[in-house]
Symmetry: C2
Subunit: 605 residues, 2 copies
């Protein structure tokens, strides 16, 4: 039943050899990996304008140079990550690059902040998408957490079905979004050039009295939220069709070009139209409204914008499981993250991401405004570390043209570092938890790693000297009466060794006498030991007895406790039986060095 | 750790022989068993007045004859239950009496409705007590569910500690309540007789134009809510110190006398003072206010009234586990309800009652007005059935004086039946769920019973013919590499039989080749079978292989699957290992007839 339901939900299991068919073409990769980056267009310009408005309307013209600066940073990041893709064709996320060039601790810092960031991506994007929907349909406002959770469940299932099918479903809205934003920009530009817009806007270069470098930097760093998601491509190289690195690099450049064009287009229109940020209407919505009026095209653009924000969450579903599997491979995360599921995706990573982000959404009631700075910081820490790593790499390896490459990465590193510092300085009240949470994550990484190393060491064998040791056998069979189950268990025990003891725990003298008499009548050829329990516990006297046997015989014999257990036909019937055998087994396996044999007796009715 | 916490909460474990010390003296029994009945005084009179007010203030004088009628019914119930106590000295709740004289199905009907009723008792009493507190301290109103839950948790822990200690804690407020109500009544009577009260009240016998028999009956049935809890003593006879039945009978009469005196006293004062029910102030509160004014004595009376309502819930904590253990003994409920815990109480019954009533409180947000009619009906169904059972008993056994006894029980039965019918007629919208819920409970009783009978039949053994059968052994050892764990497992298997096969599941040809080569080098004297898995599942190929072995050897051999398992030092380390062995074990034990041996390997770090 459970199995069938699983099939229905995620499809038939796939052979390992089918993995090549699951690889991404350039166009599909663009859809799967770029929705996070592209969706940033929906809020990037707005973030800049919000900060600038603190200095008055006259300051909005700064949005253009700042947008160009963000574009420059985008260019640097694209160049930098292109270098990374070719340097690390098997996948060069910040974790790999930082670990490789700056050592394991720095790599874990990058990896840990990326993992946390992916969870935030899902939580923030699904909540923001829900905001877009509930803004359009205010009656749904009370159900916002539910809507966000439905989206997370939907994304989780799609991703469990496998990457390609997910891409097929997700490609359409991503392309629709790109098309609709370009239609908006082109129509807007035509309308502006044809003189259809009459807004009084401050001219470029207008002097603004109360503007400060700090404010400009803050606006710049806010605008950098448009760049979240750029790193997704370089993390996902192994998901590409061969030649993976070339395809990945081309996809990265395509994505960067589209993102840059859309971002600068929106920024320009916002400036030309003289748009002022408004908590009740997004900048994109204002532009669309001014260009087309509140007609069908307006609602289509708004709807697709909402959709793309949900899909941005999907990028994390590609990135998180892959990064988790890398950390697991390096023994910093539980091994289960390395296991590919029925549909070849890293199911455990997908499921864990779904659960953790759903928890975040519930905890913050889908109100994620406070999480956005955290989210941006979580991106810029690994950006910085990754580029620092690349700098080290060029200095160490010195390939041809390394000076140019070093300069590119140095500029990138300094910029992202500055932005990170600005985040810390200007938004400390929102991001302080990162300084508590990250050390905890890294501590867990190390604890996990230590455990795996310790285990491997303890399990290691000297293949020439360590051979299996043959010993005798003593079997203890706890019984509660004389039944078919006991007959079967005693039969098994006698088939293994002659050294079998049955043990009965009685609560009253009458119990014990009756049992002893019946045992003699039955006479199965096995000695019966009776124990008397004053505390109505079967477990404690049994444990004491097994201790004694162990103390006497463990030198020469394996001590086996044979536990008869009946298996009911329906699961709910389980609760109708005192789970003594289960409790006994749990005690023994955790606390004693005896072997436990379960003899099942399947009830037929 | 868990163990220590449990000790702190509920105390040291007690020997079975200590049970006599846990028995109740008459005075303690009065405290433990009567709080439910006595607390009804807090709302009984009020219920009558609320109904009468529908016919106008002139009708309030009917409260006196109705109260006397309720008193008459109380007398009948006391006589009736006294007869029951002596007829059933080992405990004569409605379940036992009905089952014994009217057959098992009727007994189960009585037992089922009592169980449900006990859960309602806890939910209603704790919520009503919370109401009393939050009326006094309105600032606590938002935390009412929490307060009710805290009370339930507190009562659960007290009862897990054991009956006597609970009695010691609970006796004080019960006696304080009795004393304070008597102080109130006596002071009130003195004040009235000394002419301190000047209220215009309708004289006895005033003609009321719009009064109907239906209304009077409804008022009478509402007043009968004062009688809930009277049955508690006859259910709990085995908890009394010897001679149990005499002590129980005396306790019952004591309780009836106190209850009757308090009830008629409050009703009389309410009439004399001309008190009108008021949703914002209880009748008791109005009487106390009129007698003492809003001084310290008033607040003490209100506080103790609130406390007694909480303690009423405690009655159910004695009754529910005992009834559940009786039903379990008759194989209608899971066996676990028969197990006495460390402190000799039926822990599972206590815990289940706590959980279920807490769920009710949460589900109804502590708003239990709608549950009160349900609660009263749940009491009067078993009242009726119990007395019907006693009638049958007298007719069948015909002991000396049986005619008088029969008449008493017949009157009682007819009265309680009428009240039940009035409940159904006048409050159907509140009690319909009882007609859905009760059949479900009884269905579960029968399903449980059938399962136990089927199991017993399948397990039964012919002691002369059914002897243990000795067979050969084939052992299958699934392995994932060559480690200390595998060495230990193979050693154990070879100690049992020469017929040992090791099985390895590989995902790639390289895996398999490497493993085969290493195995040859190690040469443990056991054949290695390698399986190739295309679906990355270890479990499925293993199951297939075990099927084959079973098919070939199960005639002559026991098939044992030996599962190496390492036990980590700390519980959290568990998640760091793929739980393959656990999954394999679960599959095998539920679906196949093979024996499963777990060889634990305890990691030391």
């Amino acid at each position: 039943m459970v199995g069938k339901f699983k099939r229905l939900l995620i499809g038939r299991p796939m052979k390992s050899a089918e993995i090549e068919g699951e690889k991404l073409t350039k166009l599909k990769a663009l859809a799967v990996l770029s929705s996070d980056a592209l969706s940033s267009v929906a809020y990037g310009t707005e973030q800049i304008l919000i900060v600038l408005m603190a200095a008055g309307f006259a300051a909005v013209w700064y949005s253009i140079p700042i947008s160009i600066a963000v574009l420059g940073l985008l260019l640097i990041l694209i160049f930098s990550y292109r270098q990374t893709i070719f340097a690390y064709p098997t996948g060069g996320g910040a974790y790999i690059v930082a670990k490789d060039n700056l050592g394991v601790p720095v790599g874990l810092l990058a990896g840990g902040s990326l993992l946390v960031d992916y969870i935030l991506t899902v939580a923030v994007s699904s909540s923001a998408g829900t905001d877009a929907i509930t803004s359009a349909f205010p009656s749904l406002h009370d159900h916002r957490v539910l809507i966000a959770l439905i989206m997370i469940v939907f994304l989780t299932i799609m991703n469990l079905r496998g990457v390609t099918e997910a891409a097929s479903v997700l490609a359409v809205p991503v392309y629709l979004f790109v098309i609709s934003i370009f239609v908006l920009i082109i129509s807007g530009v035509i309308k502006y050039l044809s003189g259809g817009i009459h807004a009084a806007v401050p001219e470029m270069g207008t002097t603004v009295s109360n503007i400060s470098l700090f404010l400009l930097l803050k606006a710049f760093s806010s605008g950098c939220s448009a760049l979240t998601g750029v790193e997704a491509v370089s993390n996902a190289i192994p998901n590409f069709k061969k030649p993976a690195e070339k395809n990945a690099a081309k996809t990265l450049v395509m994505m960067g070009t589209i993102l840059g064009a859309m971002f600068i287009g929106i920024s320009l229109l916002a400036y030309w139209y003289g748009i002022v940020p408004n908590p009740k209407e997004t900048v994109v919505s204002q532009i669309a409204n001014a260009t087309f009026g509140r007609g069908i095209i307006y609602y289509v653009i708004q709807g697709i914008t909402a959709l793309i924000l949900f899909l941005a969450a999907n990028t994390a579903y590609s990135a998180f499981p892959l990064l988790a599997s890398m950390l697991a491979k390096d023994k910093f995360m539980p091994r289960m993250f390395m296991v590919r599921g029925d549909r070849l995706g890293f199911s455990n990573g997908i499921i864990n991401l779904g659960i953790l982000s759903a928890l975040l959404v519930i905890l913050f009631s889908g109100n994620t405004e406070n999480l956005i700075p955290l989210y941006a910081l979580g991106v810029f820490i690994p950006f910085t570390l990754s580029q620092l790593g690349m700098m080290m790499r060029w200095i160490k390896l010195k390939p041809s043209g390394w000076r140019t490459k070093l300069i590119i990465n140095t500029i990138g590193m300094l910029t992202t570092l500055t932005i990170s510092l600005i985040f810390v300085l200007t938004k400390f009240s929102h991001i302080w938890m990162v300084f508590i949470f990250l050390p905890i994550v890294i501590f867990i990484f190390y604890q996990t790693n230590r455990h795996y190393h310790n285990t491997a060491e303890q399990l290691r064998i000297d293949i020439l000297k360590d051979k299996p040791i043959i010993k005798g056998n003593t079997i203890v069979v706890p019984i509660a009466g004389i039944t078919q189950v006991v007959k079967q268990s005693i039969g098994y025990a006698k088939s293994v060794t002659d050294n079998v003891v049955a043990v009965y725990v009685g609560f009253t003298d009458e119990d014990i006498e009756r049992m002893e008499k019946k045992w003699d009548e039955w006479n199965p050829g096995v000695r019966l030991i009776v124990l008397r329990s004053s505390y109505r516990s079967v477990i404690r006297p049994l444990l004491k007895f097994i201790n004694t046997v162990e103390w006497k015989n463990s030198e020469t014999d394996h001590i086996t406790v044979l536990i008869p257990q009946f298996i009911t036909k329906h699961w709910w019937q389980h609760i109708l039986h005192n789970q003594t055998s289960l409790v006994l087994r749990t005690y023994l396996i955790n606390q004693k060095n005896v072997i436990i044999t379960t003899v099942p007796y399947h009830l037929k009715r």
